[in-house]
């Protein structure tokens, strides 16, 4: 077979960072090619160069032997390249159908043919098995549903090359399966697929070949994925061996720390009750839209409660006030880091210190030295890849942003309850196990931890107990000894007989 897509000596630098240095590799026609690497290794940058969004400082891209000289996204599209970016690129105010057609509306004399617009999308979504109303506004969809819309966009257009940057990071396993079957179909048509993911399972399930990036350089190229192993890839990525990713160990549990009684809210109609003990890690599992994130936001006071009581060590936490929750000793790492997590335009340092600085700012006057020290500590501890703590957080890679948000809360003092929604979304394998270690450490110190995750292996790997949610209700409560993939998944699936009550 011949090389269909070729990267030749691609380099790209940002101030203080060489994101890509002389990267060259080839992908064959009809192949699914994996792209792996630590957070900040340069994967998204490579994809952005491919998409025509960013020009490389040096190097060429060849498709079907032809050198590509495109200078814009439009040119790349005409060359048959479609990219699904790591950060969702949808317009919330427009409908699903309009988003799918954006940039190439079906029109005659500038007037949109609205029937074509809706109908083509409807039939296409049906065909590929995505259950979303084409005339719904994207703003009304959950993140997972939005991710599916993005994916539908790539599939709808007949592209020669499709690049997917961590497409499954906010999908449930069921939706991931839909995606995988779509990829299989595209592959059969001869489309080249570049697939970025931190999930080794997926890489082995999907990919024919693989490239590993490290510090912007090509660390390894495997033309046949079958000829490598997980362990080899991990060590190529992080430069060391990681034997056991989860690393769970038995911990002594104390008395009840967090108690939740009859909690309900606008999108969580059925009251929820549970408690978490000192030192306990409680996992929440469920399918997309099961209501876990809403539960977490209600708990923390990010959204207004309808009813219910939340107490920490017997003291009630006042509703609808995140600040009060923090003061009471509870913090939340939100699932949507772009909208709820990072403070754009501000430095890493400020993003870390935003809450904890009150402990060392007498009369509201800052202590720049302590802030700097704090930032440096967590940049090192969480291995945030950045030239400086003064870097604007928006310039960090997705995974590194997530680490900074984590640093924000780890730097807080007197925290008794940590609620963490999708803790390792977009985080590389090496950092993942470090984050788990930190969670165990915090739990061992007596903290009650609530972990929400859509990755079943993760929930099973790190939780002491799992609550399964389904359509806004608690469907099961499983202790570690009884963990069983099958029964947990079954509990998470909506009951076919019961009406959708959410």
């Amino acid at each position: 077979m011949m090389a269909f897509l070729e990267f030749s000596n691609i380099s790209k630098g940002y101030p203080g960072v060489q994101a890509l240095a002389n990267v060259s590799f080839t992908v064959e026609k009809g192949a699914v090619h994996g792209l792996m690497g630590e957070n900040g290794a340069g994967k998204s940058t490579l994809i952005r160069v491919l998409s025509g969004d960013q020009a490389a400082d040096a190097g060429n891209i060849l498709i079907d032997g032809e050198e590509q000289k495109y200078g814009s996204v439009r040119d790349a599209f005409h060359a048959g390249v479609i990219v699904i970016h790591q950060e969702l690129q949808l317009v919330p105010e427009l409908t699903v159908a309009e988003n799918l057609w954006l940039g190439r509306f079906p029109a005659k004399g500038g007037v949109i043919h609205s029937k074509t617009l809706i109908e083509t999308v409807r039939s296409k979504l049906e065909e590929i098995g995505i259950d979303i109303d084409p005339s719904a506004k994207v703003a009304s969809l959950s993140i997972g549903a939005r991710q599916m819309v993005e994916i539908a966009k790539a599939v709808m257009l007949d592209a020669r090359v499709i690049a997917l940057d961590e497409p499954t990071s906010s999908l449930s396993s069921r939706e991931s399966e839909i995606l995988f079957s779509l990829i299989d179909r595209l592959k059969a048509k001869g489309t080249v697929i570049l697939y970025v993911s931190h999930r080794l399972d997926e890489i082995f399930r999907l990919c024919d070949s693989l490239t590993v990036l490290r510090d912007g350089k090509l660390a390894a190229h495997h033309p046949q994925i079958a000829e490598t192993t997980r362990e080899q890839i991990i060590s190529e990525m992080v430069g060391r061996e990681i034997s056991n990713v989860w690393g769970w160990r038995e911990r002594p549990l104390g008395g009840i720390r967090l108690e939740v009684n009859g909690l309900s809210g606008p999108r969580l109609r059925h009251p929820i009750s549970f408690s978490v003990r000192q030192g306990e890690i409680l996992g929440f599992f469920g399918l997309i839209g099961a209501g876990r994130s809403e539960m977490a936001r209600l708990l923390y006071g990010a959204d207004a409660r309808h009813q219910g009581q939340v107490t920490i060590d017997g003291v009630a936490v006042s509703p609808n006030n995140p600040k009060a929750a923090i003061n009471a000793g509870m913090v939340l790492c939100p699932e949507d880091r772009k909208f709820d997590g990072i403070v754009q335009g501000r430095s890493i340092e400020e993003n870390i210190a935003i809450s904890s600085r009150r402990h060392f700012s007498p009369f509201g006057i800052l202590s720049p030295r302590q802030e700097a020290a704090l930032a440096d500590r967590f940049i090192a501890k969480l291995r945030v890849r950045t030239p400086s703590r003064k870097q604007d957080i928006i310039n960090l890679s997705g995974g590194n942003q997530q680490k900074v948000i984590l640093g924000r809360w780890l730097s807080e003092q007197g925290i008794k309850v940590l609620v963490i929604d999708e803790p390792t979304r977009g985080i590389d394998v090496g950092a993942k196990s470090e984050i788990y270690e930190i969670l165990y450490e915090l739990a061992a110190g007596g903290m009650a931890i609530v972990v929400i995750s859509s990755e079943l292996p993760e929930v099973m790997g790190i939780s002491d107990r799992i609550m399964v949610m389904c359509q806004g209700r608690v469907a099961a409560n499983v202790a570690r000894p009884d963990f069983d993939e099958r029964s947990i998944l079954t509990a998470a699936l909506p009951d076919k007989n019961a009406a959708g009550t959410l």
């Binding site: 998409s51 969004d53 814009s72 996204v73 439009r74 599209f77 990219v83 970016h85 969702l88 690129q89 949808l90 317009v91 919330p92 105010e93 427009l94 309009e98 954006l102 940039g103 190439r104 509306f105 029109a107 500038g110 007037v111 949109i112 609205s114 703003a139 606008p266």
Partner: protein
């Protein structure tokens, strides 16, 4: 009961609130609901209404235009001066439209291509264009030689004056453009998420330039009609227009954060501003109190709309 609630809280809530207010005003303010007063009222909002059409696009794409008042004055002056100089009204009108479009185009180029903040750019062109208008006329109004020019504003069709017809046509036209054309959807997309639009292949720079040029052209139309109504080109005309137009749009639900706009809302916003003025004068409210009342009406209108939409449970 429930269906009433639905109507009030629906998409068209502002329109409903407005209709209710209209009925109340009609009942309680003498001389309000007469044909004469209605036509007078509509004529009084012609400038704001026309300019609001394109300002809606500008705001919807997350831009901002403070130069509209100056462009209206300048193009009105040009219409009169060129008509006088050439002796041909059509040539004058063409020159005015061209002038407006050129200023708008320059705004667009500077803002979109050189990526200069829209507020500063249009604040600058607002002053430059006003200065040019003053220089061209030596600070004095320019009279119209050919009385036929007045006919633009005075002529009527089915008893309704031409300027009102033109405003209505533009309302329909731009309402259609916003909702039914690629141009309109791209405008909303740019405002909703410029980055996503760019990545989807929308030519954001060109779109923004076009929107500003269109805004300038439409200001040219408003300027011509104004000059005809006031039978002269006045370099000081339409000062402060920008704020009235922007408020009318925002009142009508156009989001300054971009991405949200509806022609029906803008029309209602324009009418609220016009009716407030009209009714205060009909009721003989003293000048100083008019300031206060005008401010309160603005506040109440957005407050009501806000109650409505937050009751409807939209996300902040």
């Amino acid at each position: 009961m429930n269906s009433l609630k639905k109507i009030l809280l629906g998409e068209q809530g502002l329109v409903v609130i407005f209709a209710a207010a209209f009925v109340i005003v009609s009942l309680f303010v003498p001389n309000f609901l007469t044909e004469r007063n209605m036509l007078g009222l509509l004529q009084s909002v012609v400038t704001i209404g026309i300019v609001a059409c394109t300002m809606m696009f500008c705001l919807a794409s997350r831009d901002f235009d403070l130069s509209v008042g100056s462009i209206v004055a300048f193009s009105g002056m040009i219409a009169v001066m060129v008509s006088n100089a050439t002796g041909s009204i059509p040539v004058g009108l063409l020159a005015a439209l061209l002038c407006g479009a050129v200023v708008g185009f320059v705004n667009g180029i500077v803002i979109a291509r050189f990526r200069i903040n829209a507020l500063i750019t249009t604040l600058a062109t607002m002053q430059i264009v006003r200065g040019l208008a003053l220089i061209a006329s030596d600070g004095r109004a320019v009279g119209i030689n050919d009385p036929a020019f007045y006919q633009l504003a005075l002529s009527r069709f089915l008893t309704v004056p031409t300027p009102i017809w033109i405003m209505l046509i533009l309302f329909i036209l731009f309402g259609f453009v916003l909702n039914r054309t690629v141009f309109g959807k791209n405008t909303l997309a740019i405002g909703g998420n410029p980055e996503a639009s760019r990545l989807a292949g929308v030519n954001v720079v060109n779109m923004r330039v076009w929107i500003f040029a269109l805004q300038g052209l439409v200001c040219g139309i408003a300027g011509i009609l104004l000059a005809s109504r006031i039978t002269s080109g006045q370099p000081n005309a339409a000062t402060g227009l920008e704020l009235s137009v922007i408020s009318a749009c925002v009142l009508g639900g156009v989001s300054l954060a971009g991405g949200r706009a509806a022609m029906s809302g803008v029309i209602v916003g324009v009418l609220i501003m016009g009716i407030a003025e009209n009714v205060m004068n009909l009721l003989n409210i003293q000048a100083f109190y008019q300031y206060v009342v005008r401010g309160l009406i603005l506040l109440i209108a957005v407050l009501l709309d806000n109650l409505r939409s937050s009751a409807a449970g939209r996300r902040g």
